[in-house]
Amino acid sequence: MRRRAFVVRAAVIAVLLLVTLFPLYWMVLNSFKRTGEFFTDPPTFVPPRLDLKAYQEALQYTGGKGLQDSLIVATSTMILSVGLGSLGAYAVARYKWGGKNFILLLLVIQMLPPVSVALPLFILFDRLKLLDTYQGLIVADTVFNLPYAIWLLQGFFQEIPIEVEEAAMVDGGSRWQVFTRIVLPLSKPGLVAVSFFTFIFAWNEFILAFIFSRSRVTPLTVVIPAMVGSDTILWERVYATSLVAIVPVIILSLVLQRYLVRGLTFGAVKG
C-alpha cells in the first residue's frame, strides 16, 4: 500500500515536471531548427542538428543591442529601486513614516494596471522628449518597482533588534551612520532579495518598454516580438533570442533560490 502510494506520487511529480520543462525544451529544440523544419506534420521532437548559428546571428543582429539595453535598463532600475527603496523603507520601518495607510497606498500603486499610468505618462514623456530614452524607461520601471522594494525591505529592517541601533546611537553615532554602518550591512539578505527581484522585474517587463520605445532603446522583450512582424520569420532566431533573454534569469534564480521564495511569497505569507 505504501509502495503503491509512493509510485503514484513519483509518477504524478514526473508528469508535472514534464509539463513544466517541456516548453523550455521546445524553445531549445526550435533554436536548432531551420526554415521549413518548424511547421511539419508530425512535428520534429529531436534537434535536427546541434549548432550555435542561431545564437550567433541573434546576437549579431537585434539581439545584441537588445541584450545591452536589457542590461542597462534592468541594472539601472535595480540600483534606483534598491537605493531609493532602502532609504524609504528605513523611514517606514524605524520611524513609522506615513503610518500604516502609507504602506497600503504603496501596495495599491504596485497593483495598478500599467495602462492607466502608461497612457498619461506617454503624453507627458512625449512632451518632455523622454520617449525612446533610457531615462524615461528606467524611471517608469522604477516607479512600478519602488513600492515593492520599500515594502519588502522594511520587513527586513524590522527584523533587526532596535537595541542594536540604540546602542550605536548611545555610542555617538548619528542616525545616518546607524543606517549606513549598522542597518544596511545587517540587511544584506534583504538587499540581495530586493536587488534580484527588481532586476528580474525590469528585465522581463514588456508593456512599458513596448509603449515607450521606438528604435533607440530596445530591450530584449521589445526585440523578440519585433522579429515576428516581418514577412519571413526566422523562428530559430526568435527562440535563440528568447533563450538569451531567459537563461541568465533562470540561472540567477536557481542560485538565489531562497531569496526568490521569500520575495515571491512576501505579503501573501507573513514575513
Binding site: 504524478v12 511529480i13 508535472l16 515536471l17 509539463v19 513544466t20 520543462l21 517541456f22 516548453p23 523550455l24 521546445w26 526550435n30 511547421f39 508530425p42 521532437f45 534606483l80 531609493l84 532609504l87 524609504g88 528605513y90 523611514a91 520611524y95 513614516w97 506615513g98 501596495l107 495599491v108 500603486i109 497593483m111 494596471p113 495602462v115 492607466s116 499610468v117 497612457l119 498619461p120 505618462l121 507627458l124 524611471v139 522604477t142 516607479v143 519602488l146 513600492p147 542616525r175 545616518w176 528585465w203 522581463n204 514588456f206 509603449i211 522583450t221 523578440i224 516580438p225 528568447s242 531567459i246 534569469v249 533562470i250 540567477l252 534564480s253 533560490q257 526568490l260 515571491l264 501573501a268
Partner: protein, 300 residues
C-alpha cells in the same frame, strides 16, 4: 542625493527623528509623485476630454461623456466578460495545479528541493517569451500538443483559431507561468498547519482524505482566498502573453479590458476615451485590492 546630518540641535528627539525620516523618504516619494501620482491625476483630466492624438486637433472638454460611452460600448462589455473569464478561469487553473503541486512536495523526501527549484522556473521567465513558445506549442496543425492529443486518440483542438479555445489557451499559458507561485504560497500555508491537529484527527479515525477536507483545507482557507485575490489582481493586468499569442483575436475573442484600453489608446490614439477605459479597469482593480486588504487584516 546627499543627506546631511542635522547641524543645529533640534528641539526634541522626536522632531529630529521625524525630520530624518522625511529626508530619507523624500527622494523615493518624489519619484512616486512625479511618475505615478501626477500621471494618474493627469489621466483623470484626460478622461474628461475628447482627445484624438492622431488627428492633430486640440482636446475639448466633454465632461463625463467618455464614461457614459464606455458603459454603452458593446466592445467594452465584451472585453469585461473576457477579462472575467480569464481571471476566474485562470484562478481556478492556477489554484488546482498549485494546490496539487504543493501537496505533492509537502513532505520532505530526497530530491524535494531540486524538484521545487525546477517547478519555480516558469515564474522567472519573461511573459513575452512564454507567449512565443506557447504560440508554437499550441499551433493548430503542426504544434506538439495537438500531435500528442492525437496520439492519445483525442482530436486536435484549434487552440488559437477558435474563440473559446483561444481564451482557454491563454489561461493555460498564463497558468503554466504562475501555478508555481500559488504552489509556494500554499506550501507555506501547509507547513504552518499544526501537526497535532492532523495527528488528533488521525487518532479519531479520520482517513487521509477526511483529514485533508475537514482539517487542512479549512485551516488553509484564508491563505487560499488571499492567493486567489493576488492572482486575480495580477491576471486582470495580463497583456504580454495575449499580445504575443493572439493579439486579442481571433476577432476580439481574447480582447480583455486591458487589451481594449491599450488598443484604443496606442493603436487608435483616442487618448481621452482610452483614459476613461483604463480608469474603469482601475476601479475594478481597486475593488479587488480593497477586498484583499480586508482579508489580510482579518488574518492578522
Amino acid at each position: 542625493m546627499a543627506i546631511s546630518t542635522p547641524v543645529q540641535r533640534p528641539r526634541s528627539k522626536r522632531q529630529a527623528d521625524r525630520r530624518f525620516a522625511t529626508l530619507l523618504m523624500s527622494p523615493g516619494l518624489l519619484v512616486i509623485l512625479l511618475v505615478c501620482v501626477f500621471p494618474l491625476a493627469y489621466g483623470i483630466v484626460l478622461s474628461f476630454h475628447k482627445y484624438e492624438l492622431a488627428l492633430q486637433v486640440p482636446m475639448t472638454f466633454v465632461g463625463l461623456q467618455n464614461y457614459l460611452k464606455v458603459l454603452q460600448d458593446p466592445r467594452f462589455w465584451n472585453a469585461a466578460k473576457i477579462s472575467a473569464f480569464m481571471v476566474v478561469g485562470g484562478a481556478a487553473v492556477q489554484l488546482v495545479l498549485g494546490f496539487g503541486a504543493a501537496l505533492l512536495v509537502n513532505d520532505s523526501f530526497r530530491g524535494r528541493s531540486a524538484i521545487v527549484s525546477l517547478l519555480l522556473i516558469p515564474t522567472t521567465i519573461a511573459p513575452v517569451v512564454v507567449g512565443f513558445v506557447f504560440r508554437m506549442i499550441l499551433n493548430d496543425r503542426f504544434g506538439p500538443l495537438n500531435h500528442i492529443l492525437n496520439l492519445l486518440g483525442l482530436s486536435s483542438v484549434p487552440w488559437l483559431s477558435n474563440p473559446t479555445a483561444a481564451v482557454v489557451a491563454i489561461i493555460l499559458a498564463n497558468g503554466w507561468e504562475w501555478f508555481p507561485f500559488v504552489m509556494l504560497v500554499i506550501l507555506a500555508g501547509l507547513q504552518s498547519v499544526p501537526q497535532e491537529l492532523t495527528d488528533a484527527a488521525m487518532v479519531d479515525g479520520a482517513s487521509g482524505w477526511q483529514r485533508f477536507w475537514r482539517v487542512t483545507l479549512p485551516l488553509l482557507q484564508p491563505i487560499v482566498i488571499v492567493v486567489v485575490l493576488i492572482r486575480a489582481i495580477e491576471d486582470l493586468k495580463l497583456f504580454d502573453i495575449i499580445y504575443v499569442t493572439t493579439g486579442g483575436g481571433p476577432g476580439v475573442a481574447t480582447q480583455t479590458m486591458n487589451m481594449y484600453a491599450y488598443q484604443r489608446g496606442f493603436v487608435f490614439f483616442s487618448i481621452g476615451y482610452a483614459s476613461a477605459l483604463s480608469y474603469v479597469q482601475l476601479v475594478v482593480t481597486l475593488i479587488l485590492v480593497r477586498i484583499l486588504f480586508s482579508r489580510l487584516n482579518a488574518d492578522r
